[in-house]
């Protein structure tokens, strides 16, 4: 009787305990498959075994980067023109930091037999991933230039074909345009080949002139100025502008080809920048130098800095205004009135860079007795050094596409590199200051 009563009272508890015991016995067989006393792995995020019907997936995160190997075959036509095409394209592609131009000596393809097409296997054998071919024929008083891009993995049909009618002296211009299209084909944004760089350089004792050179280092030429003291050239509406020193000791704003000052303002005009439908001037008065901003025609100028020395204005693509100011003590970079450089004791010559990976600001910074080129995000973060232990490197200028940086170096001239400071190539034996890339 006692036992029956107890069993009745405790039945729910016994049932619960029994269920728990069964679960305890069943669990290890499912959850602890590894033998030898090793720890059981955590629950897997990977697919289960193939024998269950699933396909095992392997994730590959990595790989090295290699330059796209491109072959530039001499176009059919006049051999002098053909050489010019090959040299121009080779130089552009090399400077772009995106392509490795293959040595023509390695070509095994029968170019005459191939004609306007390609035999992919012949180019694949030498490691080519892309091929540029074309032909140049006389047309009227000029030349008809047809250029094609083949991607070897895409077969024998051209993926890009462009035709240009140019003067016989402008073949290089046509090739630059085509090379920009090649970059656009691969990246979605055109290249900056064929643009101009402008700068000022010392031409004699107390004398400075302004110069222009093509972005591949060709065609260095002095631009006409009103006097022997011409400073800080910049591309603006309809041409190149600069600060010209006059015999009476004044400095005014001039435009190349125009002997009259385009703007007269109280004080000395020492620099100019254009961008975002605005103009900025460096005007020195009473021993101080300030940045003034207004419309490109000089109307509506207002002072945007107050006190100290403020120089080197540069506009960003969104109309931001960068300049150098010593209002914090040492010369540092400011953007729209906010200091953005905090490392180093002397930073100057800022320029905006429309890097495809994000807008940057580039400038030169003093490190001991030398200068080097630096880049940073627009807010000043992520500061990186582009040159080091490579002489003194000054006055960066960024290409309009943001992929290339030009700068002067005491290594003997004007250099070009990619936006990370790699692939530094000397493009001209000339040094100067206030370097600007037309279009940026």
């Amino acid at each position: 009787m006692q036992v029956t009563r107890f069993a009745f009272r405790t039945l729910p508890v016994v049932v619960a305990l029994g269920a728990a015991a069964v679960l305890t016995l069943a669990m290890p067989a499912v959850a602890q498959p590894t033998g030898g006393g090793s720890a059981a792995p955590a629950a897997s995020a990977l697919p289960t075994a193939n024998n269950s019907g699933a396909v095992t997936t392997v994730l590959v995160q990595g790989g090295s980067r290699s330059l796209f190997k491109i072959a530039v075959a001499p176009p059919v036509g006049d051999s002098t023109i053909a050489n010019q095409v090959v040299e121009t394209a080779t130089r552009d592609f090399t400077l772009s930091s995106m392509f490795q131009v293959l040595d023509p000596k390695s070509f095994t393809a029968n170019l005459a037999q191939e004609g306007a097409s390609i035999e992919p296997s012949s180019w694949r054998n030498i490691g080519a991933e892309g091929v540029v071919k074309g032909n140049v024929t006389p047309r009227g008083s000029g030349l008809h230039v047809e250029l094609r891009l083949y991607v070897v993995s895409r077969g024998s049909d051209a993926v890009l074909k462009k035709e240009y009618d140019v003067a016989s002296t402008s073949v290089r211009s046509a090739v630059h345009q085509f090379d920009n299209e090649v970059v656009k084909y691969f990246t979605g944004t055109a290249g900056s080949f064929g643009g101009r760089l402008v700068f000022s350089a010392t031409t004699g004792r107390g004398q400075k002139g302004i110069f222009a050179v093509e972005s591949d280092g060709q065609g260095l030429a002095r631009l006409q100025a009103v006097s022997n003291v011409a400073l800080a050239p910049a591309a603006g509406p309809g041409g190149i502008y600069y600060a010209g020193g006059l015999p009476d000791g004044s400095y005014q704003l001039f435009k190349v080809g125009n002997p009259a000052a385009v703007l007269k303002h109280a004080g000395l005009v020492f620099g100019v920048a254009f961008g975002g439908n605005k103009m900025a001037l460096v005007i020195s008065q009473n021993g101080q130098s300030d940045i003034w901003s207004g419309a490109p025609d000089g109307s509506g100028l207002t002072k945007v800095t107050s006190g100290g020395l403020n120089t080197h204005p540069a506009f960003g693509p969104g109309g931001q205004l960068a300049y150098v100011s010593n209002q914090g003590g040492n010369p540092q970079i400011f953007v729209d009135g906010k200091r953005v450089s905090f490392r180093g004791t002397y930073n100057m010559a800022p320029v905006f860079c429309n890097d495809p990976e994000g807008q940057k600001i580039m400038f030169m910074g003093r490190d001991g007795a030398t200068w080097d080129i630096f880049s940073a995000d627009l807010g000043g973060g992520n500061m990186k050094r582009l040159t080091q232990d490579q002489g003194s490197n000054t006055y960066p200028a960024c290409s309009p596409d943001g992929r290339m940086v030009a700068f002067f170096s005491t290594r003997g001239g004007l250099f070009l590199s990619n936006a990370q400071g790699q692939n530094q190539q000397k493009i001209a034996s000339v040094t100067g200051e206030s370097l600007r890339w037309e279009g940026n």
Binding site: A45, Q61, N125
Partner: protein, 265 residues
């Protein structure tokens, strides 16, 4: 609860308590006894149950290098690209068209003198120490048995899956016309068939999932085709996961360096 003025009557008698205690002991001792017995005398069935799980999670771990704190006011140093110092595998030129396996071409040039070999030797873009003799360091696959020495930690991830991913990564080159940012955002998925000898015998030409960038897809496909054509054996899997890889169909998700795996889904 004992209330004043109310006679106290226990809920259970002493005999009931004894029975309860005995029953509780039996309920606890029974399962424990079964477990002890199974441990002491493992049967054939239990060995079957102890088969290891075929997959383990890959644990991503970042190495932290300790050093002096940086002076926030000091100008940063330049990153200087340098050539790889790890030994390179001998690469033979392949004349086969990735699109047509039967494509006949010129015989491959002598590997030692070939342009391809020279190109590969200089394949680290913009290496500024090119030509300088530097001692070889590291392992050609990037990991020589892994860097983890703690077996408990090593077990925490699927080292083989990581090793295989790094093996493919070592053979994968992204053309520099694809920006670093795009490289991280792209992912191509290809299907391959692996033989019992761990060589790839078939690559499905069309990606299971395209990255949307033909050049990136081409680069991934070329990497797999090259491994197939060269009959390069994949690293041998450990016995625990052997059946998961050997003689199986695999999907290879290829993304760039520091790529975002979520783009593969």
């Amino acid at each position: 609860m004992k209330l004043p003025g109310v006679p106290y009557t226990p809920r259970y008698g002493s005999d009931e308590i004894v029975i309860g205690l005995v029953l509780a002991f039996v309920l606890h001792a029974g399962p424990v006894g079964v477990l002890v017995y199974k441990k002491a005398f493992p049967s054939a069935n239990s060995a079957e149950d102890d088969k290891p799980l075929v997959s383990r999670p890959v644990v991503q771990a970042a190495l932290l290098k300790l050093g002096k704190p940086l002076d926030p006011k000091k100008l940063p140093d330049r990153f200087v690209p340098q050539q790889r110092t790890a030994p390179k595998k001998q690469i033979n030129a392949s004349q086969e068209d990735p699109g047509k396996k039967q494509d006949a071409g010129a015989p491959p040039p002598v590997a030692q003198d070939s342009d391809l070999t020279n190109l590969v030797a200089k394949s680290d873009p913009f290496a500024e120490d090119a030509g300088k003799k530097r001692p070889e360091e590291g392992h050609e696959s990037g990991i020589d048995g892994g860097t983890e020495t703690d077996p408990n930690k090593a077990r925490a991830g699927d080292m083989y899956a990581m090793q295989l991913g790094q093996f493919f990564g070592q053979h994968f080159t992204v053309p520099s016309v694809i920006s670093v940012g795009d490289e991280r955002r792209l992912c191509s998925t290809f299907q391959i068939n692996v033989g019992r000898n761990m060589t790839i015998w078939h690559v499905r030409m069309e990606p299971v999932k395209s990255s949307g960038n033909e050049l990136f897809d081409d680069a991934a496909r070329t990497m797999l085709l090259k491994l197939r054509d060269d009959k390069t054996a994949l690293p041998a899997p450990p016995k625990e996961v052997d059946e998961q890889y050997r003689g199986r169909t695999l999907q290879v998700q290829v993304t760039g360096k520091n790529g975002d795996p979520s783009k593969c889904k």
